[in-house]
Every structure is written in structure tokens, then in C-alpha cells.
């Protein structure tokens, strides 16, 4: 049952083969049994889940609801959920219960989905391994010694292990795609502005984008159907109607033009990962696609550009965590400055502090032009690279990450190596285009994701491409051994 797709479960719920309450209990039991090994949840909201499941059952009884009605899912712990602890993986917010609901979780809730709980993540979404959480590292279900990727590692691991049918994630520099790749699931980072950021605790506002994580492209389409669309509460949200993401899934790929950027296959890419990606591309050729080598010449500039822009925005976004109105406040501050300094020093972890410092420096008078402004200029170049490339091809394909999931603790002492993990994903956020990670094979027993990038607002196209591939491959329905043990 835990391996079923949303479409299948929706059918079973409608046929009354199972009730949402039964399904929810099954997942809650799996969480209770398996999550102590994985640590993929920060909060399990059992009571809220069972209430929502009961309500969903009533709707289903009357033949109402959407395809998500009664489906148990999880939310990354940076989406504010009314009345449910929302920590953002930080000690700073370990007592924060929002009195409001994010647009994304609210829309999914309105579609009738059941919220199992809130998933673990790198603190304030800063990290590529999920080792930066105040609530401890998440383990990769395929190998408990490996990282699940980050920062949406909790969501990815929970789905891979069958502890949620699907989940929400956010992607600032690859935080949906890289953990999806490492855990063997499917994840979509939509176009910037396609999914509302209201109620999402901000890391880097101009890069952050919420999106669906699930076992398949079709399941992602079900989630997108609910979560995408204009939101008047988010000024950067796109004021155009979203597409019907389910309607076009079965469009044949004949004539699809795939671009392979040569910069994605250079030094640093694991050869086994490269082989898997090329094999996947071959599969697309069999489906009628043609392949063309393209170039994204400014790719290597994306890491320095990202690591100026993201921390700059973060340094400002995280100023509100000052101990004054909510969140952690130090004991017995002797004056205002002491309260600020100790509350923030105690509340934020090292990676967060590091990025605040970098961002503060980059925005400082005298350095702004050399760093922030320069980074924005590079960002424009990167965007232009993609626009030019996507004039010639329909989608761009390449690896999500240079390697498969690495060992827990293996890169924590080498931040640059850790940052290099995101070389293939960051540029997509800088450009604002949509991109997916689609399971494409295994190297050394660990999953490998194929990255599919598309033009602005081409989410439906990406989901179609990924779904067609998944109709002809079974990588996305593989299950880790540990998940079968319950």
C-alpha cells in the first residue's frame, strides 16, 4: 500500500477499498516504526492527520473531493502551518507555532490532503546534506550511512522510505532536486513565481521556490495541480493562470529537442553518473527525441554568484530573528545588544551564522559593487545562457549532482566541496527556470537523478517528459530494502 501512486490510492479511496483514516494510520505506524532510524520528521501531527483523514472520508463518502483528498503527505518544516510547530530546522524557532497557514499548505489542505507532519531539513534551508539541522541529520533510506541530500532531505527520505505518499519541498539552489536525486524520488522546482512563497520562511527570497516531491512525475503533477497559481499575498507570484498539469502527461515525445550542455559533462562528474545520464538520454531518443549539444558558458560562475546573492538576502531575511517578538531569546540579557547577540548566537547554527556573515559583508558599503552588484550581473549572464539555449531546444538534460549520495560527515569539514555539490542545480535558480530530478538508475547501489530543465512556465512540459520516461522505465518505483521491513 505504501508504494502506491496518488492516482491508484485516489481510486482505492473512491472505491472504498480503504478509508483515508486507515491509510493515514498505516503511514503513522510506518513513521513510528521506521523514522527513528531515518529522522525524516521533526513533527508528526498525528491528531491533525486523523482529523483531516476523517473529514476526507466524509467528503469521499459523498463522492466529492480532488485526487488529493485523503492522501497522506508531509510538509517541509519551513512552510508555516497554523497551530503546528514550524521550526525551519532551527533552534531559533523550536518554540514557534504559527497562527497562520502558508498558501502552499493551505491550498493542499483545501484539496483534501492529510498532513502527516513536518519534515526535517537543513537549518533555514541552508545545506546540501541535511546535516545542518538542529534536530539532527537525516539518513538516506538506501544506505543509512549516507546523507539524503539537502535541504529538503527529510521530505525526500520520507517519500523514499514510504513514510509519506508525497511531500512539499523548497529549492533555493537545488534543495528539491538534489535530495530527490540522492533518494531516488521525483522532484520539481517550478518556475520562480509559479508557486506562492507566502508563509514559506525565507532563505533567499529571489531564489526560493516551493515545489512537489513524490515518487513519480504523475504524483508531482497531482500536487502541482493544487499548489501552483497566482497568490495576491505574494507580490512576486506570477499573475497568470497555472496549467492543467495532469492533462498533458501522455503527449508523445516525438520530435522533442533535447539539449545537452557540454559544461554539465566535464571535470568533477562521476563517470558512473555520466553513463547513467547518457543511458537515460538514449531512452528518450528511442521515444522519438533528438539530441543536440549546447553550451551554457557561464555555468562555472554560478557558484560564486549564488554564494554572494543567497547569503546577502539571507542576512537580511534572518534579521527578524532577534529574540524580540518570537523564537529563541537568551536568558537574562543585560541590555539590548546582549539580547540580540546571544539570542542569535544561541539560536542559529554554524552554517547559518557563516552565511549571515558572508551576506552582511557582501552588502557592506564599499563591497556592494564588487560583490552583490557583480553577482547580479553574472546572474543576468546565466539567465541569458539559458534563454539562448532554450530558443534552440525544448528541454535541457544533465546530471543533478556530480556524484551519488555521499557519506554522513564526509564533507562537513570541507565547505567548498559541499558547495560544489550544487554546481548543476544553482544556475537554474539564478535563472528562475523550472527543473526536475527524475530517477534514472543506480551507481554503487545509490540512486542517480536525471535533471530536466525547461523554459519559463514549462512545468507541464517537464512533467510530460518525465512521465513518458517513467512509462518506459522502472527506476522510480524501486524501493529501498529498509522500507520493505515494515
Amino acid at each position: 500500500m505504501f508504494e502506491q501512486s496518488i492516482s491508484t490510492l485516489a481510486q482505492q479511496l473512491r472505491n472504498k477499498d480503504i478509508s483515508s483514516v486507515e491509510l493515514t494510520r498505516l503511514f503513522l505506524a510506518r513513521i513510528a516504526k521506521l523514522d527513528p532510524q531515518l529522522n525524516s520528521y521533526i513533527t508528526v501531527s498525528e491528531q491533525r492527520a486523523l482529523e483531516q483523514a476523517a473529514a476526507a472520508d466524509t467528503l469521499l463518502q459523498n463522492g466529492n473531493g480532488t485526487s488529493l483528498t485523503g492522501i497522506p503527505i508531509a510538509h517541509k518544516d519551513l512552510f508555516c502551518t497554523e497551530g503546528t510547530l514550524t521550526t525551519c530546522g532551527s533552534k531559533m524557532l523550536n518554540n514557534f507555532i504559527p497562527p497562520y497557514e502558508s498558501t502552499v499548505t493551505s491550498r493542499i489542505q483545501q484539496a483534501g490532503a492529510v498532513m502527516l507532519g513536518k519534515t526535517n531539513m537543513d537549518e533555514f534551508a541552508m545545506g546540501s546534506s541535511n546535516e545542518n539541522s538542529f534536530y539532527g541529520a537525516v539518513k538516506n533510506p538506501w544506505n543509512l550511512d549516507m546523507v539524503p541530500g539537502g535541504s529538503s532531505g527529510g521530505s525526500a527520505a520520507a517519500i523514499a522510505a514510504g513514510l509519506a505518499v508525497a511531500a512539499t519541498g523548497t529549492d533555493t539552489g537545488g534543495s528539491i532536486r538534489q535530495p530527490a536525486s540522492f533518494c531516488g524520488i521525483t522532484g520539481l522546482k517550478p518556475t520562480y513565481g509559479r508557486v506562492s512563497r507566502f508563509g514559506m520562511i525565507a532563505y533567499a527570497s529571489s531564489l526560493d521556490q516551493g515545489g512537489p516531491m513524490a515518487k513519480s512525475a504523475e504524483d508531482c503533477a497531482h500536487l502541482m495541480q493544487a499548489m501552483a497559481g497566482f497568490d495576491e499575498k505574494d507580490s512576486t507570484s506570477a499573475d497568470t493562470p497555472s496549467e492543467d498539469y495532469l492533462a498533458n502527461l501522455n503527449t508523445p515525445l516525438t520530435g522533442l529537442k533535447i539539449g545537452l550542455p557540454k559544461e554539465y559533462f566535464g571535470e568533477g562528474l562521476d563517470s558512473q553518473v555520466a553513463d547513467i545520464i547518457m543511458a537515460a538520454v538514449k531512452e528518450f531518443e528511442k521515444l522519438g527525441a533528438t539530441v543536440k549539444e549546447i553550451s551554457l558558458p557561464n555555468l562555472q560562475l554560478s557558484i560564486p554568484s549564488y554564494y554572494v546573492i543567497a547569503p546577502s538576502e539571507a542576512s537580511s531575511n534572518l534579521s527578524r530573528f532577534d529574540g524580540v517578538r518570537f523564537g529563541h531569546r537568551c536568558d537574562d540579557p543585560k541590555d539590548l545588544l546582549d539580547m540580540y547577540m546571544r539570542s542569535r548566537a544561541e539560536g542559529f547554527g554554524t552554517e547559518v551564522q557563516k552565511r549571515i556573515m558572508v551576506g552582511t559583508y557582501a552588502l557592506s558599503e564599499g563591497y556592494y559593487d564588487a560583490y552583490y552588484l557583480k553577482a547580479q550581473k553574472i546572474r543576468r549572464l546565466i539567465k541569458e545562457d539559458f534563454v539562448k539555449a532554450l530558443d534552440e531546444v525544448d528541454v535541457i538534460m544533465g546530471p543533478v549532482a556530480p556524484t551519488t549520495a555521499f557519506g554522513l560527515g564526509s564533507k562537513t569539514s570541507d565547505p567548498v566541496a559541499m558547495y560544489l555539490e550544487d554546481i548543476y542545480t544553482l544556475s537554474v535558480n539564478l535563472a528562475g527556470i523550472p527543473a526536475m530530478s527524475v530517477p534514472a538508475g543506480f551507481a554503487n547501489g545509490m540512486p542517480v537523478g536525471l535533471q530536466v530543465m525547461g523554459n519559463y512556465f514549462a512545468e507541464a512540459k517537464l512533467l510530460n517528459v518525465a512521465h513518458q520516461y517513467q512509462q518506459h522505465t522502472d527506476w522510480h518505483i524501486q524501493t529501498p530494502t529498509m522500507a520493505k521491513g515494515a
Binding site: P98, F198, S235, E313, L336
Partner: protein, 482 residues
């Protein structure tokens, strides 16, 4: 040394939108702390700003009124600093691309000359909250009702050369924003506050001296006094061969002194950068032109019309047009009275005196413009004389009814029957035969002085109701014994 003062002003104007600059919370003075707030104003995690289009419209109106370039693509930036009443840790403001660019105002000075003050820019920004120190022993209370209230910050060029000119400029800005209806102009409640940048240089020198900035001065009178005080302070230092330190100062009206707040060295680095939560505000020419067509008549236009249409003097026209409320009052009263000069004199004279005594604004006058006009009609048609009219106005002020009702009830109708006046005068002359003798014996110059006594007696006898216009010639004639 002969010093020249160089002044530039930054005026923070609170826009009278119904809701805040970036949230739907109400804007209002005096509400219970933290009741006029949303998630956005409280800086809650995940909350996002949504720009208030009404504030945009108001800013564009102001831009037109000062002949400015309108920023067709303006950008909001974040100004980062920590303060307990700044909930997000940054203030959303405009830096590189403000909504209103270069403009100017021609300011009329007391001596009748006009001086042009350049306006560098006017940008939109949100206000911070308020820290409350009273009622919280050893602690600080935070009221975020004011958080995200829309401000238009109007920055002048350093074109101002005296305290009087500074006040005239601020008064003119005050008058424009209230005319436009984009600010209530209530300085006591902080709707308008002013930062004064001031430096001295030897007369004739081109380069500016080192300046200081006096923060948050909130009345015309304090602006003037703060400038005088700071000029004196800086001049004293310079005369003694000292140097001015660039710093931020506070004006203390009680001690009439400026005090150092912080020096440039411990000034904040605000780390401005474009706010990633807000898109650039891009305007179309149609929008900008559309707003221009909605502009009301501005003070200078009104003053010109008062001269040409009503034949008022330049001085009267300027005084009456200095506030929209006063101009409206004048025009409404004059519509009834149909005598612009008389109406102007009475609005600027008796009415203003009463308003000043009770410290009331003209819009709160207990006597409506229509009722006031009714009083003037009775002055004009000689039903009452000027002196009686003052008493009637006081009665109207006290709520005793319309001018006609009061005149009727108190029997104040002027005596205009010449026969009755002659009889009254005859009685007075008979009772004061000795004075009449003296009068007749005196020369013409002396007579002019002596006639006042008889006028006084007549008015007393008539209880002020005798028409002085009639009394004077009849009295003169009868005194001569003809």
C-alpha cells in the same frame, strides 16, 4: 566673519492612505497598541509585503505638484538595521530609483520675494513601530501600529539660506500635501516631521562646510528655533577656530538646544539592496498623465485666482490660499457675503483671532463658513455695525444660533433712521452744553479730536446700535450749530 548658512531639508510626510504601505492593516492614530497590525507589520516568518497602490497614486500626485520627473520604474530597497521596533530588521524604502525624481518649488518669502528650492527626490518608505518606555519599569514595550505606515520622504537640495526660508518652504510643502489630500498635515501627531541638514561657510565661499543633521523636528516654530540655535552653535565653534563634527543631533525645545545623538563614525551601514520580495513598480504614461488630470487647484494657482477673480491683494490672496481649509472657508463665506474684500478681512481678522485663542484649526471652527457669510451680509447691508458684528460673532461662536437670529433676539439692529439719530444727538448736546461751547470755540484741528467724545456719547446712548456712518456727518453738522 560673515557666515552663510546652507540648509537642506528632509521632510517625512505620512500619507493618508486607509491601509499600510505593505499590508492591509488600518492606519490610524491613537489605537490600542498592536491592534492595527498584520503578519507583515509584525515581521512574522514567511509574511510577504504587498504594495499599496493608493500610496503610489499619492506619490505621483505630489511629483506633479512639484514639477518633478516621475520615476517610471521605481525600486524598493531594504535598509537593514536592528532595532526592537523595526520588526523585520530592515525598513523597506527606496534608494537608487525613487518614485519622484528632481523637481522644485518657488517659495514666497515674507519680504515678498520668491526663491526657488530644488527638490532632489521624494521616495516612498515604510515607518517603523514605536518603543514605549513609560509604564514598563525596567522593560520596553513595543507598539507596532505605526509599523509599515506609508511615508513620502521629500529631500530638498541644499538651496535654503535662512531659517525663515526653511519655514516658508516647509509651510509650502505642508500646504501642497494637504491641498492634494495626501497627508493630514498634523505635525503634533507626527504626520509631518523634518530632518534639518545645516552647515555654515564664509560668505562668498563655494564649497560647503561640514554639516550636521538635526533629526525629527515636528513644528514650524521648532524648525525655526532649531536652525537659529544650530547656526549659533556652529558659528561659535568656527569663530573659535574649531571644526564642526559631522553628526546627527537632536533638538530639545525645552532647553532650546541641539544635542549630539551619534557621530558619523558610529553611523549605521544600512546595507541597502533591492528588496527581493517586491517587483519594480513600472508605470505607464497613461497612468501618470491620468493622475495629473485629477490634481486639485494648488495653493499658488489659487492665490493667483483670488487676485484676478476677487480682486484681493497679493498678500491677502497668499494668506487665504495657504491652507486648503482656509481657502475653502473663504470661498464658501464669500459666496454668501458677495464681498471678497470684506470676507477676506473678517476671515483673516476676527475669525482667525478666535481660532487662535482657542487653538482651533479652521476646519473645526464652531461657526460654519455659510453662517459666517450670513453675518457678513448683515455688516454689508448696514443692519449691524462692525463693533456689533464682533459681539454677534462671539455669540455665534458660543452656539447661540445664526447671525439673523442673534440680531433679532438681542435687538441689535442698527439705528439708521436719521430723525431718531438727530433726536438722540440733540439730547446729548443739550446735556453737554459746556463741551459744545468749548467745541465751537476751538480751532479745526482741535475739533477733530474733540468730536470723539460726542460720538462716544451717542453710541453709548444708542447701545452701539447707531450707524456710525450716519452719526458722524449729522453730529458734525449739528455741532456747528447749523
Amino acid at each position: 566673519m560673515n557666515w552663510e548658512v546652507v540648509i537642506g531639508l528632509e521632510i517625512h510626510t505620512q500619507l493618508s492612505t486607509k491601509s499600510k504601505l505593505f499590508s492591509g492593516a488600518a492606519v490610524g492614530f491613537g489605537a490600542e497598541p498592536n491592534t492595527q497590525t498584520t503578519l507583515v507589520d509584525l515581521g512574522m516568518p514567511g509574511a510577504l509585503p504587498v504594495f499599496n497602490k493608493e500610496a503610489l497614486r499619492m506619490a505621483v500626485m505630489f511629483g506633479h505638484a512639484i514639477n518633478a520627473e516621475i520615476g517610471m520604474s521605481s525600486v524598493f530597497a531594504r535598509k537593514n538595521y536592528f532595532y526592537p521596533d523595526l520588526p523585520k530588521g530592515y525598513q523597506t524604502s527606496q534608494m537608487d530609483h525613487p518614485i519622484v525624481g528632481k523637481g522644485y518649488l518657488d517659495v514666497m518669502l515674507e519680504d515678498g520675494t520668491t526663491s526657488r528650492v530644488g527638490i532632489t527626490r521624494a521616495h516612498l518608505e515604510e515607518d517603523a513601530g514605536k518603543s514605549l518606555h513609560e509604564d514598563f519599569q525596567g522593560m520596553t514595550g513595543i507598539d507596532l501600529n505605526r509599523s509599515s505606515t506609508p511615508l513620502l520622504e521629500i529631500v530638498s537640495e541644499p538651496d535654503i539660506r535662512s531659517a525663515k526660508e526653511a519655514v516658508a518652504y516647509v509651510k509650502m510643502i505642508h500646504s501642497i500635501v494637504t491641498y492634494l489630500g495626501i497627508c493630514d498635515g498634523n505635525m503634533a501627531e507626527g504626520s509631518m516631521r523634518c530632518d534639518i541638514n545645516l552647515s555654515l561657510r564664509p560668505k562668498g565661499q563655494k564649497e560647503y562646510g561640514t554639516r550636521t543633521e538635526i533629526k525629527n523636528v515636528n513644528s514650524f516654530r521648532f524648525i525655526e528655533k532649531a536652525i537659529y540655535t544650530e547656526i549659533e552653535r556652529q558659528a561659535d565653534i568656527l569663530e573659535d577656530g574649531g571644526r564642526i563634527i559631522q553628526e546627527t543631533r537632536l533638538y530639545d525645545p525645552e532647553k532650546n538646544e541641539t544635542r549630539s545623538m551619534r557621530s558619523k563614525e558610529d553611523a549605521n551601514d544600512y546595507r541597502y539592496f533591492p528588496c527581493p520580495d517586491l517587483l519594480p513598480v513600472v508605470l505607464t504614461q497613461e497612468y501618470v498623465d491620468g493622475i495629473k488630470s485629477t490634481l486639485p487647484e494648488l495653493p499658488s494657482q489659487k492665490a493667483a485666482r483670488f487676485q484676478s477673480e476677487h480682486g484681493l491683494s497679493e498678500y491677502d490672496a497668499n494668506v487665504l490660499s495657504s491652507s486648503r481649509a482656509m481657502a475653502d472657508y473663504f470661498e464658501t463665506a464669500n459666496n454668501v457675503a458677495k464681498d471678497a474684500k470684506l470676507t477676506a478681512n473678517w476671515v483673516m481678522g476676527e475669525l482667525s483671532k478666535l481660532l487662535n485663542q482657542e487653538q482651533l484649526d479652521i476646519e473645526n471652527s464652531p461657526v460654519s463658513a455659510e453662517a459666517f457669510g450670513g453675518l457678513l451680509v448683515r455688516v454689508k447691508d448696514n443692519t449691524i455695525n462692525g463693533k456689533t458684528a464682533k459681539d454677534v460673532l462671539q455669540a455665534m461662536w458660543n452656539g447661540e444660533g445664526s447671525a439673523d437670529a442673534i440680531i433679532e433676539a438681542k435687538g441689535l439692529k442698527q439705528v439708521t433712521d436719521t430723525g431718531a439719530i438727530e433726536a438722540m444727538i440733540q439730547t446729548i448736546l443739550d446735556a453737554n452744553a459746556a463741551q459744545v461751547e468749548q467745541y465751537r470755540a476751538a480751532d479745526e484741528d482741535k475739533q477733530k479730536k474733540m468730536i470723539g467724545f460726542f460720538v462716544g456719547q451717542v453710541m453709548k446712548a444708542s447701545q452701539g446700535k447707531a450707524n456710525p456712518g450716519l452719526v458722524n456727518p449729522i453730529l458734525a453738522k449739528m455741532l456747528k450749530g447749523k
